[in-house]
Amino acid sequence: MIRLESVTKRYDKTVAVDHLSLEAPSKQITVFVGPSGCGKTTSLRMINRMIEPTSGRILIDDRDTSKGSAAKLRRGIGYVIQNAGLFPHRNIADNIATVPVLTGETRRAARARALELMDRVGLDRQFADRYPAQLSGGQQQRVGVARALAADPPVMLMDEPFSAVDPVVREQLQDEFLRLQGEIGKTIVFVTHDIDEAIKLGDQVAVLRVGGQLAQLATPVELLSRPADAFVAGFVGRDRGYRALGFTAAGQLPLRAEPVVALGADLSRAAGVAEDGWVLVVDNDARPLGWLAVGGLPPERLNGTITPELLNLGGTLATEAGYLRAALDAALSSPSGRGVIVREDGRFAGTVLASQVLARIEERAAAARTDAQRSAATAFGPEPTPPAVNGPEE
């Protein structure tokens, strides 16, 4: 656990971080997010003393970080920086082996471990002897993560690690990062200016405002549903009602059994089972492939078989144990109007209509409102007796 106690950083007259107090719980991801100038990177760098606080204390597992040598402290804290910040003059394996070598491990042992870490972050071992400039931005960022993990530190600091790569790679890196965190369970503080990234990755999110003040510290779903003030509401942005659905479990949806046909089956058979002119086509393992508008085909074409070119791939898939956002999106995007729900293993489970998902959303929202009223009631306690008006003493 990392605890910031009234941490302040002042440069001459400007205040970069203003009495910031918060806890980053063990084995969780805490995201610092905010506009530029909100002191999020400064706050991060005060944790490993790359910047020394003007006042306040920072404790890692109840140990005051200001005691002892900064270099030693940093060797126990993983750090990933934007643009990876790799050492251009060292090959990939040596880059990853940096901290173990610094702490006295032999280069051979550290390099052996570096290779294992490359597997872990999804880098081909053949890159081990290449230099950073020979890798793409996304690959360099993976090396950065591996390097931060090399000494197996309990705490990791990540400063906009995925900001400099293109959106497709970023999404991929984020997903892998979450998977990796699921395996390794580090205490992570993650800085980003991208609220979507914060909401996607954070177990809890600290929204900072310009001047380095904490505006709100909350779970992503709380942030979306109950922003603390106008600044947070504005920063969290539009569509937050819709985005919050991404955190609301769909629960057991009323799935409708749907007739399906396999790829390669006769079109005439598809026409026989289609509803409203649409039929879902699956592969041999019952995984959905796409919708077939068999009702739109002229009768003379019904002699052939179902080929991939005939399929409409417009619909998205939602998993049974997933979130409302995916279920709603599956229904809205489906060309047949029937959202495809699959099991965890990708096999077809059934379909759901948008109206059914909406009904579920309304149920959930109603329950949330009741909860909110109840907690508001407890927060304010029983109706307080009005304070006595100070009249003249008798």
Binding site: N48, L73, R74, I81, N83, G85, R90, Y131, A133, Q134
Partner: protein
């Protein structure tokens, strides 16, 4: 060409001696100057307020004509007026003047991300300088060193004016006897020396920076 060769054979021992003097004057000054410029350049890159005065001073030193420096040094530091050490010191001063800025710029050219991540990995400032910053700056610093080396080799010959014997004597001889042969010979040897100096430094840089070549053939 034959005339040049014959001229060389005719005075072989003396010319080889001059060559050797040129080598150690230019090379020694290069080494000493480089070693002096390293901490000064580091200072200028580490504490930015020292950069303008150090680089300005270096620029002023570099613009002093070499003849003036050769002649003024005995008065300034009390060496004998004809001593080769005057030439060595003057060339060292030029090397320092040229290299201070290059070392400072080379060290400053290392990316801020790399420096920050080195600090974050737990390098002490000293470890970071020697293990990260300096090795990455080698290509820039090395390029400056090549210029300094070649410039030193050619500057040595000016020392003939103050009577220090080295390859410049060949130019003096050519001038006095009104013949081009020794001048050609001097040019050839000096250019060959410059070429060797440059080559040695270039090879050293290449050995120290395998990562630079890797980049060009991904």
């Amino acid at each position: 060409m034959n005339a040049i060769w014959n001229y060389f054979r005719g005075d072989q021992d003396e010319i080889l001696h001059w060559t050797w003097t040129t080598v150690w004057l230019a090379g020694g000054a290069l080494l000493v100057g480089f070693v002096v410029a390293l901490p000064l350049g580091w200072l200028a890159s580490r504490y930015r307020w020292t950069y303008p005065p150090l680089v300005t001073l270096a620029g002023i030193v570099y613009t002093i004509p070499s003849v003036v420096l050769f002649l003024a040094l005995p008065g300034l530091i009390g060496t004998k007026i004809l001593a080769p050490v005057n030439v060595g010191i003057a060339l060292t001063a030029y090397t320092v003047a040229l290299m201070v800025r290059i070392v400072a710029d080379g060290l400053a050219s290392v990316s801020g991300d790399t420096m920050a991540s080195a600090a974050a990995m737990g390098y002490t400032n000293r470890q970071r300088l020697f293990a990260v910053q300096f090795p990455i700056a080698i290509p820039v610093i090395g390029a400056g060193l090549r210029v300094a080396a070649v410039s030193n080799v050619s500057l040595v010959s000016v020392a003939s004016i103050i009577g220090v014997s080295q390859l410049g004597q060949l130019f003096v001889a050519g001038n006095n006897n009104n013949t081009l042969t020794p001048i050609w010979l001097g040019l050839i040897i000096i250019m060959a020396l410059a070429f060797v100096f440059d080559g040695v430094i270039l090879m050293t840089i290449r050995l120290l920076t395998p990562w630079q070549r890797a980049v060009s053939k991904p």
